[in-house]
């Protein structure tokens, strides 16, 4: 299956890149934008057919490496 992990700064943690992007969008006259967050996406294939097992594996990957849970949240998407 295909795995997509989205990592972004936690809600309470100031996202300077998001702020800079927001300002840039405003300077392009997109004045209807708010709450911009910049994150990263990690995509890979996982050789695992059991969804439960896959979720457990990817969660462990996120906790150990893909996200720094002191400052970041992660969201996992599994695509069969």
């Amino acid at each position: 299956m295909k795995v997509i992990v989205n990592v972004s700064l936690k809600a309470g943690v100031l996202d300077s890149q998001g702020k800079a992007v927001h300002h840039a969008l405003e300077s392009l006259h997109f004045n209807n934008v708010s709450n911009v967050r910049v994150g990263k996406q990690i995509i890979f294939n996982l050789d695992e057919s059991d969804e439960k097992k896959a979720m457990a594996d990817v969660t462990k990957m996120c906790e150990d490496l893909l996200a720094n849970t002191v400052i970041e949240d992660y969201a996992i998407e599994l695509i069969k």
Binding site: G12, L14, S16, Q17, L65, N68, V70, I71
Partner: protein, 224 residues
């Protein structure tokens, strides 16, 4: 006195650090990250600055899985003294040996300049040659030096005197170059044997190069 200096692919301050400690009379050894042990005679282990693994994913995130890091963790947990400078500080927070995390600078710019720092707690081996309130002039050079810790963690840092240094101006007034929580430039663990800071004391060893305030900091380690 033996100082062991860690070297990952992408580390670039190991020779400056070696030069600094040698000039203070220490024996030094540079240790490649594939080593699975910390040399037995090590009195101080330094995780030097640079860009381990190209800062891929996050600064310090990949380095924490290097073979040597298990030995470093064991060494630290058994009371061994560890100092992380710049990328070394990032590695130690990623490895969970120091609290908090380092984010991208608030300005999003890479900062490379001299900066003043105020000594906040000198009741530890690293800063005991200095006094609380002393102001030192030490270079900073980082992109991800914006120290973050949540409110409970910050309270704990204050309660246990774990904040080592804060950024300030020449007079000691608050001046924050990178957005760090409470202008924190360096912290230690509760047990006060693991130290981390973003500024580079090893680059402040000679007046000719702008400052020798790093001498008093690094000397603290050499008397034990």
């Amino acid at each position: 006195m033996k100082v062991t200096i860690l070297q990952f692919p992408g580390t670039n301050c190991e020779y400056d650090t070696q030069h600094a400690f040698k000039s203070l009379g220490a024996n030094t050894e540079i240790l490649w990250h594939k080593s699975e042990v910390v040399p037995k005679d090590t009195d101080l282990l330094v995780v030097a600055g640079g860009f381990s693994y190209g800062d891929y994913l996050r600064s310090g995130a990949i380095a924490k899985f290097s073979p040597v890091m298990q030995a470093v963790t064991k060494y630290a947990k058994s009371g061994g003294k560890v100092l992380g400078i710049c990328n070394g500080f990032q590695v130690l927070t990623e490895a969970g040996l120091l609290p908090g995390a380092l984010k991208r600078n608030e300005s999003l710019h890479f900062l490379s300049k001299h900066h003043h720092l105020k000594v906040v707690n000198n009741d530890n081996i690293f800063l005991e040659k200095l006094h609380n309130g002393d102001i030192v002039n030490i270079p900073i050079a980082h992109h991800d030096g914006n120290y973050y810790i949540d409110e409970d963690g910050l309270k704990e840092l204050y309660e246990n005197n774990q904040i080592l240094l804060k950024y300030c101006d020449e007079e000691g007034n608050d001046k924050n170059p990178n957005g760090s929580v409470d202008s924190i430039a360096g912290v230690c663990n509760k047990e006060k044997n693991v130290f981390g800071l973003m500024p580079h004391p090893e680059r402040a060893m000679e007046k000719l190069l702008g400052s020798n305030d790093g001498i008093k900091m690094l000397q603290g380690f050499l008397q034990a």
